[in-house]
């Protein structure tokens, strides 16, 4: 990874970019960071696995299955993933 990710906002941008690839029909301009993603967008369990895979492929980040609930909202993604970007 060339660019260091050091703020929650940067993490949220990255997650939204991944979601834009996975759910290309969705309008992401009004996604509320504190609301569960599944309550705002049409994302199912296969889609969340896609998010996990993209984090692995693009950023070398591993998300164990037990931690999947931590990806529920953009805010929780930022909180959970930020330290992992530091490694």
């Amino acid at each position: 990874m060339a660019v260091a990710v050091t703020t929650p906002d940067e993490v949220k941008k990255i997650v939204l970019a991944i979601i834009a690839d996975i759910a290309p029909d969705e309008d992401l301009s009004n996604v509320k960071p504190e609301v569960r993603l599944r309550d705002q967008l049409e994302l199912d369990s296969m889609d969340f696995l896609d998010i996990v895979m993209e984090l692995r492929k693009k950023y070398g980040i591993e998300v164990p299955e037990a931690d999947y609930p931590k990806l529920a909202s953009l805010d929780s993604c930022a909180e959970y993933l930020l330290p992992k970007f530091g490694k």
Binding site: P24, D25, L49, M53, R56, K57
Partner: protein, 434 residues
């Protein structure tokens, strides 16, 4: 049983059609058609380009092999699918969805008004899963073959029923669905399955035919090349040359053709427009060789299909040949055809692969679709790229080069033969109201 003759040349015999199944509940008709071919995304566009002798083969770049020739379709996948569905599904599924939705619209059927449990999807395929598997192996090769990078989408993408299953999800069909693996006979096999299932009362509406995504693999190109059976020509549109002395192999294509098939009684009850009747069919096996065809078994297959339709060979006005432009395959098929259609002065022959290449699982279904117009427009599209006929491929009344007006064609035989010696023949007749 003599067939009617016409005094003028250029017209096929108009037979007294001896329909085998008298009960309309058992007679099977086609009421809709949806297709995508390299040279057309609707039946009308496809037919127009065939009649105007306009092929469409392109150079594409494929993994590990560089440039190859292929028939590529350019239908609008987003007409009936969302971007996410295209992304998560397969190309074959996308082609199937497009063809199915087009066919239903063509048939004037509204699924919202139908019982979805009484519709079935029967799609012939040559292969399925190669595209996805090649893609995923390439994917993990970028990560030192660590299989934790293997996609969770792999299994639903590669199960053999995928193309038919994607149709049911897109259309909300809750009746049966599956694909039929029948090599290059698969398109006919889909239609045959539909006819059988309708006669058994399993469904009331069948969406049936064949699809192919095979150009998106490299392995199929490499294998045909290894067999010395992959066509090459400096002009892509001239590469598919069935029956030509200088033919040098197959042009691989993608595509799909799906038919709406119903019992005649149901079609009449709802006032459907009837495109044709599936009058007879047969499938058999060479039981000889994995690759080389057997003209004896091919002839038997055709004789049986014609007999089951209640007709004689001389009643068949047009044979849509299989011929893929391999040296042996074309010659063997012509030997079988000369035997079946000996003394049939009003029987014509053509070949659609010369335009669109070999669309694999879709081939038989697309080729028949390209010829159905003959019933109404009185024209037979030619085989093109036939500059020097191979004497081993002599056929009387082979329509070559230019479209030929031939009135009175009432029956078309569609041949498709595939590896492992699978043979299929479907006879369709124009529905005359009785």
């Amino acid at each position: 049983m003599p067939s009617a003759t016409h005094p003028s040349s250029g017209s096929a015999a108009a037979p007294h059609l001896r329909v085998r199944y008298k009960n309309p509940a058992e007679r099977i008709v086609v009421t809709g058609l949806g297709l995508t071919a390299p040279n057309g995304n609707t039946p009308a566009e496809f037919r127009a380009n065939l009649l105007a002798t306009k092929p469409n083969i392109q150079r594409i770049t494929t993994r590990y092999m560089g440039e190859v020739l292929a028939g590529v379709c350019n239908y609008d996948a987003l007409k009936y699918q969302k971007r996410k569905e295209v992304r998560n599904g397969t190309r074959a599924g996308s082609i199937a969805i497009y063809c199915a939705r087009e066919a239903l619209a063509d048939a004037g059927l509204d699924l919202a008004k139908m019982n979805p449990a009484r519709a079935g999807v029967y799609i012939g395929i040559t292969e399925h899963g190669n595209v996805e598997t090649e893609n995923e192996i390439f994917n993990i090769s970028q990560f030192n073959y660590d299989t934790k990078y293997w996609t969770h989408h792999h299994n639903p993408r590669t199960v053999a029923n995928n193309p038919a299953g994607e149709v049911t999800i897109n259309l909300g069909i809750t009746g049966p669905h599956y694909t039929i693996g029948a090599a290059c006979a698969a398109g006919n096999a889909g239609l045959i399955q539909a006819a059988q299932m309708l006669r058994l009362g399993e469904v009331d509406v069948a969406i049936a035919g064949g699809v192919s995504e095979s150009i998106h693999t490299f392995g199929i190109f490499a294998a045909f090349k290894a067999q010395g059976a992959l066509a090459h020509h400096e002009d892509p549109n001239k590469a598919s040359r069935p029956f030509d002395r200088d033919r040098n192999g197959i042009v691989i294509s993608e595509g799909g053709a799906l038919y709406i098939v119903e019992r005649l009684s149901d079609a009449l009850a709802r006032g459907a427009r009837i495109i044709c009747e599936i009058a007879g069919y047969n499938m058999n096996s060479d039981a000889t060789d994995a690759v080389l065809p057997n003209p004896d078994r091919q002839a038997e297959c055709m004789f049986a299909a014609i007999a089951r339709s209640g007709l004689e060979p001389a009643d068949i006005g047009l044979i849509s040949t299989h011929a893929t432009a391999t040296h042996q395959g074309d010659a063997q098929e012509c030997a079988a055809l000369r035997r079946v259609f000996a003394n049939c002065p009003d029987t014509y022959f053509n070949n659609t692969k010369s335009f669109i290449g070999h669309a694999m699982g879709a081939a038989g279904a697309l080729e028949l679709a390209g010829n159905l117009g003959t019933f109404t427009d009185g024209l037979i599209h030619p085989t093109i790229n036939l500059d020097n006929l191979d004497p081993a491929c002599e056929l009387p009344n082979l329509v070559s080069g230019q479209t030929r007006p031939v009135s009175g064609v009432r029956a078309i035989l569609n041949n498709s033969f595939g590896m492992l010696g699978i043979n299929s023949a479907v006879v369709v007749t124009s529905y005359q109201g009785t």
